[in-house]
């Protein structure tokens, strides 16, 4: 996507890219200077400013011919550092700004200076730090800048996990940090090897000279597994469930919606911009196979969780798997990656997940604050007490499930078309299964939340509109993403949209709803909300043997997940994945 001709000179609006990183950092410095009484005001002043900068980049990219560039200090690469933004970066910058904005409004009541000075100070500083690091990832033009940005992102994200300072969350944060460091050091090793071969780290310059030497393939394999560890693709997800489920709601929304997308974005840049000609069909199929594993394992374990936050965290694991299906679908007949429709669909899926998942985590946070617990089986009647929170969860869930015209539905339709076009029917099957699994856990939670309760619930805290409305807005954004005109930024043709609303599209939706409901009934081990009704009893007798088989399967999957979240297993699978990727790429080139 990076246009080579103008990629090495500063363009008219280039300085906006510097602002996108510099403004959040300036906010951090100002907050440190003014002290913890004003940190919230500083952060809330920076948020609209950042939103305006993201909007400016969104407007400037189509005007600059799809690319804006800024050379730091007017030194051109390979000696200097270039910042670049194409349509891909512009879209991600805007998504990040919107999600951070909603989370900031949500968090204003939680993180007041009066509540707990140190926690609220840390939260606002870290929010700005995550933002600066993500923006740097989206505009960074060379592999080493991306490494530094990736590390800054990790350093900002890890303390967000343990804001409440309990031993369990500290442990989760330390696990996250150590595993993320393992990932980034492998990435750096790959970058060092690539510098050794080509004497440059600039992505545009490197993409012009890169060739399929053994050393380059090893470097790419090392960088890829490092980034997979940071993205928590199955089976490298040992840190994700505890880190995402243990953090405060606002922090979980950032971690799950945005932070894992940072390393995924670098992976896209590496495969689609730096080495589009190298990858083999086998390696891309392998990545998508891991994604399939993530969808199945993540969804099955999610359906068996007792706590709502853990369910949502495991659903992130499954949704990350979805993103990796784009690799084989974007490959052409020669095994070369093309930034075409499948690529755009993957990005759309990432954006749609960012907004929907952030909204869902915020809604779960409100439900937790309201009820004082988040046991799924104890949710009966919550829809009456906290209607807005449940509505937010429902809208976010519908967007994630792929109800028209959500971004997820649009992305799925594009990917299905690509699967048909390239004759890879097995990935179409995985896409359908993924849709069913997503529907299953959304319907499961809604069934419990909408069920009448036996005893009246007294909420600990009444619902606050200032918390629920930003989350609801985010969920609605995700539900309307399919209607946004994407052409200036992503290679999407809009004749897919009518297909989305055809009877064919609704038949697909019906299929995933029916399949999802069946999966939810079969795989969820807890007492069903409708278990008392007579109709259910008759059905239950028929289903009983089938349910028992599914219980066994679920137990097996849960044990496998537990095993994979051991250090030794995760570490060895990391090395084996690197080896497998390198071998597959060797075999093809």
């Amino acid at each position: 996507m990076l246009a080579p001709a103008s990629a090495l000179a500063t363009t008219t609006f280039g300085f906006v890219l510097v602002l996108s990183v510099a403004v959040p950092v300036a906010g951090i410095l100002l907050a440190f200077t003014l002290g913890d009484r004003y940190v919230r005001q500083v952060a809330l002043a920076v948020v609209p400013l950042g939103l305006a900068i993201a909007g400016a980049i969104l407007l400037a990219v189509p005007q600059g011919g799809g690319l804006i560039v800024y050379l730091l200090g007017a030194w051109s690469p390979p000696l200097g550092v270039a910042l670049r933004a194409d349509g891909l970066s512009a879209v991600m910058l805007a998504t990040t700004a919107i999600v951070i904005c909603a989370v900031a409004v949500f968090a204003t009541t939680d993180f007041r200076p009066a509540s707990d000075a140190r926690t609220s100070f840390a939260f606002w500083i870290l929010l700005l730090a995550v933002w600066a690091a993500l923006n740097m990832i989206f505009v960074g033009g060379d592999l080493f800048t991306l490494y530094v940005a990736l590390e800054l992102l990790t350093f900002a994200a890890v303390p967000l996990v343990c804001l409440d300072g309990r031993a369990e969350t500290l442990q989760a944060a330390l696990r996250y940090l150590v595993f993320a460091l393992l990932g980034s050091v492998l990435y750096l090793l790959g970058a060092a090897l690539l510098y050794g071969f080509y004497g440059t780290l600039d992505m545009v310059l490197m993409s012009r000279v890169v060739s399929a030497q053994p050393g380059v393939l090893i470097a790419v394999a090392l960088m890829t597994v490092g980034l997979l560890a940071k993205t928590a693709l199955f089976p490298l997800h040992l840190w994700l469930p505890s880190a995402h489920a243990g953090a405060p709601a606002a922090a979980s929304a950032i971690l799950s919606g945005l932070v894992v997308k940072g390393s995924f974005f670098i992976l896209l840049r590496l495969w689609f911009d730096v080495i589009p000609g190298l990858p083999s069909l086998a390696a891309t199929q392998f990545l998508a196979a891991l994604g399939t594993g993530a969808i199945v394992i993540g969804s099955v374990v999610a359906l068996r969780q007792e706590r709502l936050k853990l369910l949502v965290a495991y659903s992130t694991l499954a949704q990350i798997g979805y993103l990796f299906l784009i690799f084989p679908l974007a490959a052409n007949a020669l095994g070369q990656l093309e930034t075409g429709q499948a690529f755009a669909a993957g990005l759309l899926q990432a954006i749609s997940h960012a907004s929907a998942k952030a909204a869902m985590f915020l809604a779960v946070g409100s439900i937790y604050t309201g009820l004082g617990h988040d046991r799924i089986t104890g949710l009966g009647g919550v829809a009456r007490v906290l209607p807005l929170s449940v509505l937010t969860f429902a809208v976010g869930g519908l967007a994630l499930m792929g109800v028209q015209p959500s971004g997820a539905a649009f992305a799925k339709e594009l990917l299905l078309q690509e699967a048909t076009r390239t004759g890879q029917w097995w990935w179409a099957a995985v896409l359908h299964a993924g849709g069913m699994f997503t529907t299953a856990y959304v319907l499961l939670v809604l069934a419990y939340a909408l069920a009448p309760s036996d005893q009246p619930i007294a909420p600990i805290q009444t619902a606050l509109p200032s918390r629920d409305l930003p989350a609801l807005a985010l969920a609605i954004c995700s539900l309307l993403l399919g209607l946004v005109p994407w052409e200036p930024y992503l290679p999407i043709s809009h004749d897919v949209l009518p297909k989305l609303f055809s009877s064919d599209g609704f038949a697909k939706l019906l299929l995933s709803v029916l399949g999802g409901a069946t999966l939810a009934i079969l795989l969820n081990p807890w007492r069903h909300p409708l278990a008392a009704s007579s109709g259910w009893k008759a059905l239950g007798k028929v289903l009983e043997p089938l349910r028992r088989i599914c219980f066994g399967f679920g137990n097996l999957v849960e044990q496998a997940d537990g095993l994979l979240r051991e250090w030794a297993a995760a570490g060895i699978s990391l090395l084996l994945l690197g080896l497998a990727l390198a071998v597959l790429m060797f075999a093809a080139n």
């Binding site: 390979p78 009541t109 939680d110 509540s115 707990d116 926690t119 609220s120 939260f123 080493f144 490494y147 530094v148 590390e151 350093f155 890890v158 303390p159 343990c162 804001l163 409440d164 300072g165 309990r166 369990e168 969350t169 500290l170 442990q171 989760a172 944060a173 330390l174 696990r175 940090l177 150590v178 460091l181 393992l182 050091v185 750096l188 090793l189 060092a192 510098y195 050794g196 780290l201 040992l238 469930p241 505890s242 243990g246 953090a247 405060p248 709601a249 606002a250 936050k309 853990l310 937790y368 604050t369 004082g372 979240r565 051991e566 250090w567 030794a568 570490g571 060895i572 990391l574 090395l575």
Partner: protein
């Protein structure tokens, strides 16, 4: 055997040993030290990369040195953050292993109120 080969083997050995320690050792402090060992190996590799053109008459390449210095700063910050977390974990009396127990059920209010 040229200097590049010797230092290259040492870098590979440091990376290999570090990876082994990082994966197999259950104690967090040793994991952090092992991470630093891997990091040192990578920095050594960067140093060698800068020396590769010397035989062809090209002087020392300054870019890898700048990268190594940045890398050391990043690794130092990472280590400091990890040690701070570890100390805090020690003070709260939590278990000092990083085994995969079931993720915690929150005791206090997680939303920070």
């Amino acid at each position: 055997m040229s200097g590049v080969t010797v230092f290259g083997s040492f870098a590979a050995a440091a990376i290999g040993l570090g990876l082994y320690g990082l994966i197999t050792n259950p104690r967090p402090l040793r994991k952090i030290i092992a991470f630093n060992l891997v990091g040192s190996g990578v920095f050594l590799l960067f140093g060698i990369v800068g020396r590769r053109g010397t035989a062809a008459g090209v002087g020392n390449d300054p870019v890898p040195q700048a990268l190594v210095i940045t890398g050391i700063v990043v690794a130092f910050s990472a280590t400091a953050l990890a040690i701070a977390l570890l100390l805090r974990l020690f003070q709260t009396g939590g278990s000092l292993t990083l085994g995969s127990r079931a993720p915690p059920g929150p005791r206090s209010d997680p939303s920070g109120d």
